[in-house]
Structures are given as C-alpha cells and as structure tokens.
Amino acid sequence: MRLRDSESDARFRKEVRAWLAENLPVLGPRPAYGDWPAKKAYDQRWQRMLFDAGYAGIDWPAAYGGRGATASEQLIFLAESAAAGAPDLGVHFVGQLHAGPTLIAEATDEQRDFHLPRILRGESIWCQGFSEPGAGSDLASLRTRAVRDGDHYVVTGSKIWTSYGFAADYCELLVRTDPDAGKHRGISWLIMPMDTPGIDVRPLRTIQGESEFAEMFLDEVRVPVENLVGRENDGWRVAMVTFSFERGTSLVRELLTAMTMVEELATLAKTLGHGQYHSGPRAGQSRTAWDDDAIRREIGQVAAELDAMWALTRRNVTRAAGGGGVPPSGGSAFKLTYSEAIHHFGEVAMKVLERYAISLDALPLGAGAGLPVGRHIIEHLHAFAISIGAGTSQIQKNILAERVLGLPRER
C-alpha cells in the first residue's frame, strides 16, 4: 500500500500548486451567495482557465479531450484546489460528473463529438432531470411521459432537484417511454436542449435558503429522437451507469472542502469566547471554545472522521482503477459515513458558535470580512442533502445489508 506521492505525482502536485497560486488571484473574488448569474459567469471563467491550462477533464480519456491522467493525479488536483480555496465544479457539476461520463460510456459518436468538447470548455452547462416529486428514493417510479411523434419524443411531466436548472443548456432527462412495461423497463435517457419550448424552470428554495436547485415543468416538450442515449426503454441501465460515476467519488471535492472547514472551525474556536456561565465554578471566567475539552475533542473527532473518509476515497479510487468502478461496500459506506460526519461537524459547529449561531451569513463584527458563522450552519443543513439525496441513508443501509452482507431483501 502506498499513499505518498510518487515522483511524477509530486511533480504534478507542484505544478498544480504553482498554477493555482498564479491563476486564482486572476480569477477574482467569489460572487455573493445567491447571485446566480454571477456564479455562472465565475464558474465558466474558471472552467475555461482550467481547459486552457490542460486541467479540464483530468480523469477523462484523452481520446475525448480529457487529460487522461491517473486517479492519483485527479485526487491531487482536487486536494490542491480545496486547500487553495479554488472554485469547485459549480455549474459544471452535472456535465462533468454525470452527463459527460455517461455520454463517453453510452452515447453515439455524433453525440460525443458535439457535447464533450463543449462540456470541457465550460461552454455548455447541464442539469439533471431525474427526480420527481413522487419519485424520490424510488426513482424508478417516475411518471414523466415521452410519447413518440414522428422523429420526436413529446415529453410532459415535472421534475425536481434540477440542479443548476437556471443556468443549463442541456438536461439529462429520464422519461417513461413505455408505460406498460415493468417499472424499470420502460424508461429512456434523453438529452433535452433547455431552449426547447414548453420548459418552465422555477427556482427551488431549500432549507439552506437560495439554492442551485429548480423545479422543472415540462409541457409537450419536443425532443428529437436522435437525442436518445442508449436504446429506447433501456434508460434505467444508462441511469445506473450515470450513478456509478456519482457514487463514491462525486463528493470528493466536497469532502476536501469540509476538511478545510474543520480547520476554519478550529481557528474560530481559538478566538471565540465561550460559555455563558452566569453561575457555577466557571462564572465570570473567560475562555475560548477551544479551551473547552469537550468541544476541542469533538473537533478532533470530526477531523478524524473526515480524514478516514479521505483514506476511504483513496481506497475506493484504487479499487475502481482495478476495473468495475467503486464497489457498493465502498460507495455506500462512504456516503453513509460522510453524511454522519457532516451532521457531526454541524453539531460541533453549533457548540463552537453558540450565541453567534444566529445567521446564515457572516456576522458584521468589527472590521473586515466578518465572523463566518453562516457557512458552518449551511454546511450543517447541507448534511441533509447528503443523507437524503442520491439514495437516503436508509437506502444505503439496505444496499449494504442486502448486497454486501447478504441479508434477506425487503419484503
């Protein structure tokens, strides 16, 4: 087993670090949270800079315009980006991690040639059209209908959790093309251009406040049959291919960012006074949250949990490189434990921030940037996105119990 950088890894790390140090300042300041047009422009600018520097699609095959780099290099790139505070994929999430890899695996040459370069250059933005209000964990019960009419599908229905719907040029859309086939059998995977008439995208507010999610209502939207990916009624299998890219590694950058947030929380704890202690032996004593054994130790526990998730990522990536992708034991174990670690992080953050845990923004204290309380609370709330989205924690436990431990299936 090796974790240390090989010589070429070390070279790559050095190169990436230098490039980030040089180019991040050029990118300019991050737009305010909730300013979606600015966010889109910012993410696209960064993606173009990455592309020009050869860092777009680091783990995509060279044949499709990617860097064709090793899994190690991909992880190094992510780690260095997080440590430097570089942007994450943002509006490119679906295109880079979902649609792109799915097209590489399943699309026609024409589809690939058209879409993949645009995704890599940050020119076309994708959104996801999988979930529906009535089809959450039970995704296969989706009801959005696509009826064949000549060389088009006519699509009617509604979708939810359409991430970056406001910004998207294309949608990876799951539709029911055969209502009479079995639940999993009559589904197809379509590329839907978002400028087609009949699409109504409405922003979706989440418990975190403004969000990148939308609801999408489809009223007789005409999608060309040539936009089918894979075969008609074979969309469930294609979607499983899509998910195989999501499970296990799509949360890596997020994990790495969370690891730096624990560092930030520790730093805050060292400066924030703590405890009301109007009575008792502590009354009137001044101390920081960091001085509190329980809080400090709990920060250490959360860091240990996240460090282990980072180690698990390395194991998952090693296994995936051996072929067959991330095994369910690794993918579900990651998602389950990561969501618990983030919930735990959030609980500790509430204790550290204590009386200042009162805003989803920064607190206007003194000069400068303010006290960054909001993003720790938003991260706490975001834990639900992990424990609910892409298969709830309950579903992950079923997967582990049934597929890995061999216990009886749900009746």
Binding site: G275, H278, L371, E410
Partner: protein, 355 residues
Amino acid sequence: MHFDLDEDGLALQATVRDLCGARLPLETTRNWTDAASFDRAAWSALAGLGAFTMTQPEARGGLELGVADAGLVFQVLGAELVPGPLVAAALVADLDERVGAGEAFATVVTRPPAGSGPARAGGPWVIPHLDLAADVYVVDDQGVWRTAAGAVEGTPVPNPLDPTTPMWLADAVPAGEQVGGPELARGWLLRGSVLASALLAGNATRTVELATAYAKQREQFGRVIGGFQAVKHLLAEAFTRAEVARVAVDAAAVALDDAGTSVGDGEGEGFDDGYADPTFNPVRAIAGARVLAADAASRNAKTAIQVHGGMGFTWETTIHLFLKRAWILRNAFTTPEEAADTVAHSLARPKWMAA
C-alpha cells in the same frame, strides 16, 4: 404526588391550541420576520388568554397559577411555533403590566460575560426582536436592568438563522435603570430557562407528529414509508425523546413552584432545604430539562426532515423552521453544555458510599 396533567391543564392547553390554530397558524406566522409584519392583534389575543400572566397575581391581571401551568402553555406555543419574544413577555410581566397584557413588547438578554466575544473582547450583545421591543431588560449577577430599546444602537443580523427571530448585534447596551436585584435575576434565569425548555419540548413533540403524519401517507416502493421498520423506529425514538423531554420540563417547573422563593444555587454537595429527593432541586431539574429538551427538539426535527426526504429539504415545508427555532432556543438563558455542567455540580456524594 399527582404528576400528570389534570383536566384544567388539558383544557388550558386546548384553549391556547385553538387560538393558535385560529390566529397564529404557521402558514401565516412564518412570515412575521420583523416588527412591520408582526400581527400585534393576534399577539394581544394570546396575551388575553393569560399566556404571559399565568403566574401573576390576580391584582395584576394574572391567573395565579404556577410555572408548571405556564410550562404547559409554553409547550403548546412551542408546538405551534409561535414567534415573538414569548419568554421575555412572561418574565417582564413581573414588572410591566402592558407587556403581560400584550400591549407592549420587551426583550430580555443576559449580559455577555467578560471575554466571551470574538477575540475575547467581551460582547457583542446579541439581542432578539429589538425592533419590536419597547424596552431591553438586561440580566446579570447584580440584578435586572431596563433600557429603552431606542437607546440601543444595534446592527441587524443579515439572513437570520430563524427567520422569525430577527437578531441585532450591539457593541454595548446602556446601563439603564435597575429594576430588580440578584434574586429577581436568578429567578428570571431559572424561569426563563424552563419556559424556553417548554418551547423546545413542544417543538420536539410537533415534529414527530408532522413526520408521523407524513410517513402514513407518503408512498415509496409501493407502500407507505411508515411501514418500513427503519422509519418506524426513527419515529418511535423521536416520540420517546419528546415524551421524556416533556416530563422533564414538567418536573422542573413543578420543582420551581414547590421551591417558591427559596431557590439555592444548586452547587456543591447537593441541595438541602428539607427535601429528601435531590431531583426536587429546581436548579438541577431545570438544567436537566434543558439538556433533554434541547436534544429532543434538534434531533426530532432532524429526524422529521430525514423522514420527509426531499420534501424536508425544501424551504416550503415547515420542518426546518422547527429545527432553526430549536437551535436558537437551545442557548436561551443557559446552554445544554452549561446545563449538563450544572447537573454534574449538583450531584452529592451518595449517603452509603464509604468515606
């Protein structure tokens, strides 16, 4: 001993619940984000039931009941997620009849201990509902101090965590006028803490109800999700936490009533004023209630969000408001961490233990 709600208590709760349903439904009150949107008439109606004057003498328009009864009412207010400076109103009614009657508003804050702010500089003060309040009451070791709200220079907190608990930061609060001594201050800290815990216990109860109702109708995989053992057990655990929190809050309020004005400080080798049972110590009981009620409220809201799945993650669904309120209330008048310490310090050496 009769430690259960009697018919009067149940009727009291029903009356308050009915009023909340009619005048303070959550679909409406979730929009009371500042003084301008706050419905003073509905608040007055609540005050008219005596919600804030339960423990006041009849001469002051009160019902002459105990903190235990006030706690029952506050459990309902917590379950209905009524916004506004509820606990402050119940405390300040001691001093200002207009506040007890719902004709004026007050906010009560504890003085931040020296060195408690960022960079250990002391402060800033965190003041809820400053726009609504006529007066700010400051509680510290010396007593209770009143300052006109208009005299406080506050900066509004952007994007408040709990949308209907707007907050202000202030570098300082003018000294104001002393309106009570250390005994009143201590009494307010205890009563304020137990009433905030009552709100938390009610909060914990309601999120289980909402999640249970949702689990009974939401279908996935061809059956209602409430039929899955994982969901059943999550809800059973949440129900139990809420029951236990309510019992703990009731016991704490009763202990405070029983102790009357002879509240010790609960430190050192236990509470000794003739009671045999150390759990009758109101300082210990109130601290213990906070530990359990804060835990029950935040964990139950989390459970409810999880059970609601994607719906629970939307702003539209109300569950997150319960969680956010719970996060604010956990630090009201004490914190669960400080409270656990208080309980620990109340433990005496057991009688039978060898020296």
